[in-house]
């Protein structure tokens, strides 16, 4: 459950953003969790539901999770495909060895506060 520590990091960031902008309520939070980030989206949501209740700044905030794709590059012909689920083979040449790139970030994209 490293999602707990990731969400704790998220909440710490929200707290400092709110202080920076002189706000006292977080309304919505949008996080992009890449398919290769090693983060379970359900666990992340669950951790957010629990930890966000622990302080009045984030209590009641709604979390939106998006899942931007990774890029898979064919070792044979170099063709690159964006996908959130690993393709079985290269669309161009049918090679099965594809090198994943990106898709491993967990990014706080947007916050709405008041």
């Amino acid at each position: 459950m490293h999602e707990m520590s990731l969400v704790q990091g998220l909440i710490d960031q929200l707290v400092s953003l709110a202080a920076e902008h002189d706000k006292n309520k977080i309304l919505t939070v949008t996080v992009d969790i890449g398919p290769l980030s090693g983060v379970a989206i359900d666990s992340f949501q669950f951790a957010f539901d629990i930890l966000s209740k622990e302080n009045s700044l984030t209590n009641g905030a709604s979390l939106t999770i998006i899942n931007s794709p990774a890029t898979y590059r064919c070792v044979q012909c170099g063709y690159e495909e964006s996908a959130s689920v690993r393709p079985d083979q290269c669309l161009k040449c049918k090679e099965s060895l594809l090198i994943p790139e990106g898709g491993d970030a967990i990014t706080l994209n947007q916050v709405e506060l008041e």
Binding site: H2, L6, G38, A105, T107, E114
Partner: protein, 252 residues
């Protein structure tokens, strides 16, 4: 745009309609686009720069509990004694038993206990490495091994500042680990299949497990070995010595 009144979210205004609710809102949308791991990654980059400055190759060992990480380290220390100076940071949820096993081999070691957390992070390694530097022999190392908390999932997300990440799966665990826990295999440079002396007793098609791992990450270097019999150990030692000599060349 605010759904309830259609106002621009970034400006402040007061509703004053003919119905009885009155509220003031003053909400603002901020584009952040910051990696949640940014703090960890910055510390990891600092660790890596520190290891580089000291000419150390750092290796992060990741596996489920009991795959044979500590045993691999014990045997590796025996084999490299006198030629490569090894230091170890041990990560565990509780107890310093692994550190005691390593200390018995006569190399500097620091035990980090995470007190429940399922992974090490770069901040802990930063502190742990400074402690290690104060152990006898700890300020003169060639290879630093970091034995991560036994867990194939969470440690894969946290860069510690290592140069190489090695993921282990032992024969009794079965061959389906790469497809079940892809992140560890995608983010590693080396995949070690351990306890190969047990192959006669378990259904573990080595070729299939290798192919699955390479399918996920074509750049993986795959080795299979037994710490008990020493079978396959030469390739592992060769991997370490060549890492060490490459590192010395770049430092020179």
């Amino acid at each position: 745009m605010c759904d309830s009144c259609g106002c621009d979210l970034t400006h402040t205004h007061t509703h004053d309609h003919d119905h009885d609710h009155k509220h003031t809102h003053n909400s603002q949308v901020i584009e952040v686009h910051k990696n949640l791991l940014a703090a960890n990654d910055a510390l990891a980059a600092g660790n890596r720069a520190h290891f580089d400055a000291k000419g150390i190759v750092a290796i992060n060992l990741i596996s489920s509990p009991g795959s044979g990480k500590t045993t691999l380290l014990e045997k590796t220390i025996e084999r490299l004694k006198g030629s490569i100076r090894i230091g170890v940071i041990e990560g565990d949820i509780e107890t310093d038993r692994d550190a005691q096993r390593i200390r018995a081999k006569g190399v500097p070691v620091i035990q980090l206990t995470t007190g429940g957390a399922c992974h090490l992070d770069a901040g802990q390694i930063h502190k742990g490495f400074h402690l290690l530097e104060h152990e006898p022999g700890g300020d003169q190392l060639d290879i630093l091994f970091i034995e991560n908390v036994g867990n194939l999932v969470c440690p894969a997300t946290f860069d510690l500042g290592e140069h190489q990440r090695v993921v282990l799966v032992s024969v009794p665990e079965g061959p389906d680990k790469p497809s079940k826990y892809p992140k560890a295999f995608i983010s590693s440079q080396v995949f070690v299949i351990s306890k190969t002396d047990l192959l006669p007793y378990f259904d573990f098609p080595v070729a299939e497990a290798k192919a699955d791992a390479l399918h996920l990450n074509p750049r993986l270097q795959v080795m299979d070995l037994s710490s008990t019999t020493g079978e396959g150990f030469d390739a592992w030692i060769e991997y370490l010595t060549s890492l060490h000599s490459k590192n010395q060349q770049t430092a020179a």
